[in-house]
């Protein structure tokens, strides 16, 4: 085990390459540091490599070149099960276990970690409250929930064993705009209290600006630039500018439709 420099990055990508077995490169030369307690947003188009980047952190994928470090230690050398249990993961398609109740879904990692039953139950109640779900929902199955409720359960499940790192892959993707707005607001207040190190994937610039402490812009398997939300809006980078324009125009034209 290496000792962790107190002020070093929590997640550290160095010259990371990821290539498919057939030789097709998905990620090229990725250098990226995530600091403790920040929310780093991976922003990019569909297919730009955001999910691939995320999976390299909890070693669902191993880099073909370069190295990924979590808390200073190479993921490739760590006990992969320990690594994954110390990282909360909200996957893109939610992926709740259909044969488990909400309670068992949320309590799975604590259970396999051997927590006593009463402690798990308390934790599940606490988490349901945290993500603002009625405790009556605990005994339901995923197919008995709405899409928004499922996404909340997905977040609660990732938080169950209180991991310091949270990977969130478009966690608020498949819900209506108002629910998403609410989920984003709750995420912000939650993050203020919990202070996790979060890597958050989205293709929505507005979401990125709202939630991120920094925004990492990806395109075609490459990291284009990493900017704070303020700098992103003023950036001279052509791709960042294109994003701002695309979303800005959307807002403007919508606002102007009523007046003209």
């Amino acid at each position: 085990m290496e000792t962790i420099p107190a002020n070093g990055p929590v997640i550290d990508f160095r010259d990371v390459v990821y290539t498919l077995p057939n030789g097709q490169p998905l990620l090229q030369n990725l250098n990226l540091q995530v600091q403790g307690g920040e929310t780093l947003v991976l922003l990019g188009r569909s297919g730009s490599g955001k999910t691939t980047t995320l999976k390299l952190i909890n070693r669902l994928l191993t880099p073909s070149g370069g190295e990924v470090r979590v808390n200073g230690a190479l993921t490739a050398e760590n006990d992969v099960i320990r690594l994954r249990r110390s990282i909360g993961y909200v996957i893109q398609d939610v992926g709740l276990f259909p044969h488990f109740t909400v309670e068992r879904n949320i309590g799975l990692v604590p259970r396999i970690e051997g927590w006593p039953a009463e402690r798990i139950q308390l934790r599940v109640e606490e988490l349901l409250q945290l993500v603002r779900l009625d405790s009556q929902i605990a005994s339901r199955y995923p197919h008995q929930l709405s899409g928004g409720q499922r996404q909340r359960v997905g977040v609660a499940r990732a938080l169950a064993a209180d991991p310091a790192i949270l990977l969130m892959d478009e966690p608020f993707g498949a819900v209506d705009a108002i629910t998403r707005d609410q989920l984003q607001r709750e995420f912000l207040s939650l993050q203020q209290r919990l202070n996790k190190t979060v890597v958050f994937v989205t293709h929505d610039l507005r979401e990125a600006l709202r939630l991120g402490s920094r925004i990492a812009l990806m395109e075609a398997g490459r990291l284009v630039t990493v900017l704070s939300p303020q700098d992103f809006l003023r950036s001279s980078d052509p791709l960042a500018a294109a994003y701002v324009q695309a979303f800005g125009e959307g807002l403007d034209s919508a606002a102007n439709r009523g007046t003209s």
Partner: protein, 210 residues
């Protein structure tokens, strides 16, 4: 009404042979499940094993049953007793539907659910026993159902090598050109097959994940 009286007169023998029949089918199905499910899990998880395992089970399936009994006869210990021989042959036949359905059932589990489990730090073993098998159970059970129904029919042939079961009546009836005897074997066998089909079908629907 001759058949009815025949059944009344011979009810003890019919019951005995039915139980023997059940025993042959039950033991062979149990063995097929114990061997077939692990093989199905292996072939679903390691693609290299998929072809050899399913291919072998497929080939076994194509061997005519009487010939299979013949092939197994020289095998030591197994060939020594007719019931062992019959159970082994029935087990071999029952393997294909069990393996194939275990494979299909596991492969059919929503990939995002498996990925969530893996990402949360489930070990391979936990993934198989807590996620994949519970979600595949109704598909596996429908394979077992096919295996049982086929076995009930096949087991009547076991009487040809002296392993007993309801086939006794059928072969005796054929030799004596006696329809009552044939029906005394065929009707209970049909009832066994239908009730197994119905019972396992019910269980399958109950265990199907939502």
């Amino acid at each position: 009404m001759n058949v009815f009286y025949f059944f009344l007169q011979h009810h003890e023998e019919i019951l005995d042979l039915t139980l023997e029949h059940l025993w042959l089918v039950g033991i062979s199905t149990l063995l097929a499940v114990l061997i077939g499910i692990p093989l199905g899990i292996v072939s679903a998880h390691w693609p290299v094993w998929n072809k050899p395992i399913l291919g072998t089970a497929n080939i076994i399936q194509t061997v005519p049953s009487l010939a299979l009994f013949g092939f197994l006869l020289p095998v030591p210990w197994i060939g020594a007793r007719a019931d062992r021989l019959a159970i082994l042959a029935l087990t071999l036949y029952a393997l294909l539907p069990v393996i194939r359905n275990t494979y299909t059932g596991i492969r059919g589990v929503d990939p995002s659910v498996v990925e969530a489990g893996r990402g949360m730090g489930l070990t391979d073993r936990q993934l198989v026993f807590q996620v994949e098998l519970p979600l595949a159970v109704s598909v596996i059970l429908s394979g077992v159902r096919v295996a049982v129904v086929v076995s009930v029919g096949l087991a009547t042939i076991a009487a040809a090598i002296g392993a007993g079961g309801l086939g006794e009546f059928i072969f005796r009836g054929l030799a004596m050109v006696n329809n009552e005897l044939i029906l005394a074997g065929a009707i209970p066998a049909a009832i066994l097959a239908l009730s197994a089909d119905f019972g396992l079908g019910w269980l399958e629907r109950r265990l199907r994940p939502r």
